[in-house]
């Protein structure tokens, strides 16, 4: 072997000799060995059919609070075990789809209102009609929420929360510019913003989250509904290009306010929905359109620099008198092929319906903790709810918004998501002056029709 060794060490390229290599290799093996042991303790992720545990998944909004509720449930129902896995919200839909496709789906889960019909059609969810307690819940909630959670005459969900969009404004900034009341019409809004701009308070008083994203642009729907307009009729035909739909006028206003009065921030195209909250709390914009519950965060002194200054008004309309807005619902549903149907149903009944004292405990809990809107009509009269409301929002505005809110009817179409993507794209072009409102309406109509025929 001596000749070999000599040859080996003589080669100029040899940077390591055998011993060094062995040392490196053994170090390299030690780590993986530990890793293998760790992997053995890794989560199994298998089905729960064998031990009766309910597999529950939702997006990761306040998972600690969710766990708290679940613990209360298992405390009241000691024979049921629940395994809760929060999933990061940006990939929630994709992951659930992947899981169900692999036959690995949860037993109970959160569902967005705009994926409900798609998931029902794909066979992920089962109807809950006739199950204990469902009728009571549906009798106790607002009609629009009940309609959103139903599809083709069957009911699928129990309510998690609901909310509607309103005009969020920073009262302090407004008063500094001499404005005492929020705007009622779009023109008035523009003029107020110009006033703030000219007072040197900020360059762009209005901001929206207008980066393309996988979730919807609630503010855009709110603006259209707020002026009494519509994008689709009851048969889900596109109407944005017809007279009276108000869509072109809203788009024209958006473009005018961005490029003529220059009060809407052109950088809105870079803002994602998660980034608008810190922006408002830091006082970077005077106005935006946001959900009612966002005010509970904006007015929380522990989290926000602008606590106490943020207020909500009705969504400004084209004519100044119409009132309207868009609402959305989130719900709990049952998986179609769950093997623990009764336990899972008990869980979602508890979370989305009444507890053992016949009170909507969880709905009230979410409202008191995070200001999430409730679907139960009775809660509006609850004293604690009223008190909490007064702390972050005008109760009259809160109730009025819920009254005039409408849900998006087009979410029942299987092509909704493709349409929403197209809509975001087109509106971005409006906001970057690459297209006219008229051309935009035509493009949207064309896209909707193409999608409709594609899914025939």
């Amino acid at each position: 072997m001596s000749r070999l060794n000599r040859a080996a060490t003589a080669y100029p390229g040899a940077a390591l000799n055998r011993r060094q290599l062995l040392r490196l290799a053994s170090l390299g093996l030690a780590l993986p060995a530990a890793g293998t042991l760790l992997a053995a303790c890794g989560d199994d992720g298998g089905s729960t059919a064998t031990d009766g545990t309910v597999k529950f998944e939702g997006w990761d909004f306040e998972p600690k609070l969710v766990q708290q509720n679940i613990d209360r449930f298992t405390g009241l129902n000691s024979d049921i075990k629940v395994a809760y896995t929060p999933i990061t919200s940006a990939q929630y839909v994709q992951k659930i789809v992947a899981e169900f496709t692999a036959g690995n789906g949860p037993d109970a889960l959160y569902v967005y209102d705009d994926v409900l019909t798609g998931w029902v059609e794909a066979g992920y969810l089962q109807p809950i009609d006739g199950l204990p307690g469902v009728d009571d819940v549906y009798n106790a909630i607002y009609a629009s929420n009940a309609a959103t959670m139903s599809y083709k005459g069957k009911r699928y969900g129990l309510p998690y929360y609901t909310d509607s969009q309103g005009l969020v404004y920073n009262a302090e900034i407004l008063s500094k510019a001499g404005i005492t009341a929020p705007p009622k019409s779009l023109d008035e809004w523009e003029q107020q913003a110009v006033k703030i701009k000219n007072a040197g308070l900020m360059q762009y008083p209005i901001g929206f989250y207008a980066q393309r994203q996988d979730t919807w642009w609630a503010w855009l729907w709110a603006l259209v509904f707020g002026s009494g307009g519509a994008l689709f009729d009851d048969q889900l035909n596109p109407v944005m290009n017809t007279a009276g739909s108000k869509v072109k006028d809203v788009l024209a206003w958006l473009q005018h306010a961005t490029f003529t009065s220059k009060v809407i921030d052109p950088a809105s195209l870079q803002i994602v929905s998660a980034a608008i909250d810190p922006a408002m709390m830091e006082g970077r914009y005077a106005y935006t359109i946001g959900a009612r519950y966002s005010l509970s965060m904006y007015n929380d002194a522990a989290k926000s620099k602008s606590a106490g200054k943020m207020k909500m008004g009705m969504v400004p309309s084209l004519d100044g008198t119409t009132l309207g807005t868009v609402s959305h619902t989130r719900m709990y549903c049952l998986a179609k092929d769950t093997k623990v149907k009764d336990s899972a149903h008990k869980l979602i009944s508890y979370l989305g319906g009444f507890d053992n004292e016949k009170k909507p405990y969880t709905a009230k809990f979410w409202f008191m903790q995070e200001g999430l809107g409730f679907t139960f009509k009775a809660l509006a009269q609850d004293a604690e709810v009223q008190a909490k409301l007064g702390k972050f929002i005008d109760p009259a505005v809160y109730a009025k918004l819920a009254d005039v809110a409408k849900a998006r009817n087009v979410i029942a179409a299987p092509w909704y998501h493709e349409y929403e993507t197209e809509q975001q794209k087109v509106v971005q072009e409006v906001l970057s002056n690459q297209t006219t409102p008229d051309a935009a309406a035509v493009a949207l109509e064309k896209a909707a029709n193409t999608l409709k025929s594609k899914y025939q």
Partner: protein
Amino acid sequence: MTQVGVPLRYRIPWRKFVIYLLAVFFALFLVLPFYWIFSMSFKHEVDANAVPPQWIPMDPTLQAYLSFVHPDEAQQLVGSRAVADTPFALGNSLVVATLTALLNLILAVFAAYSFSRIRFRGSQVLMMVYLLTRMVPGIAIIIPFYLLMRALGLLDTYFALILSYTTFALPVTIWILKDFFRTVPRELEDAARVDRCGWFRMMWTVFLPISAPGLVAAAVFSFMTAWNEFMFALFLTSTRASQTIPVIAANFATDLNTQYTVMAASGVLAVLPPLILVLIFQRLIVQGMAAGSVKG
């Protein structure tokens, strides 16, 4: 380029000037973006987004990094778990990337040897087949991959990721190694033959130690591939048992109420381990690629 006729001491060192200018330009280009989040990770949240930007933190603090040590205190704002998950994710990434590199080396060494030492029929086609598996976008195979891993019961384990990443890195690893192996002198193997060494023994005692730079280059490449991958990690994992650092980093992006300083700190941490690795081995990496890139 020499300037003829100019006295020696007046010759302007254009070359040196250009070289240093370019060096400074590139150094800034490479470092400044990273320096930005590096400095942001040491700022207080208020200063993170100050205008005009503070290039050097005026009031440096370790608060962002400490929040990884005491995640519950940092969680008062929003109940996301990204901060608490980060240390676990770092550990998972380290394990997965290291094992991927090792597995890659083992498999690739055999294959690369065959390309470098043996002229065989279909070698070009075989190499193209290897590369072809890398031309199919991940999104096309993610669902069947998920199904496969589910069938094998490997979801949310290290193995799923290691196996996936090995297949991703193998084609290029084999390519790198085969080029490098070609440059190892055959006399060494002949000497081994004369000494009546078995093939495995010859490889272990002679061939591989000589090829160390190439092995290091291939190992680092597979390590990086595994470290940086996002989509498969996202789908094949679901809890901190196996989630890797890109998945957790993405959580920061979509987190409601993100603290930019903490996000910056997690970015710095995500880069640190592989960075240290390549810094240690940088000479070997270049050497490993160098010997292989001969003409023909």
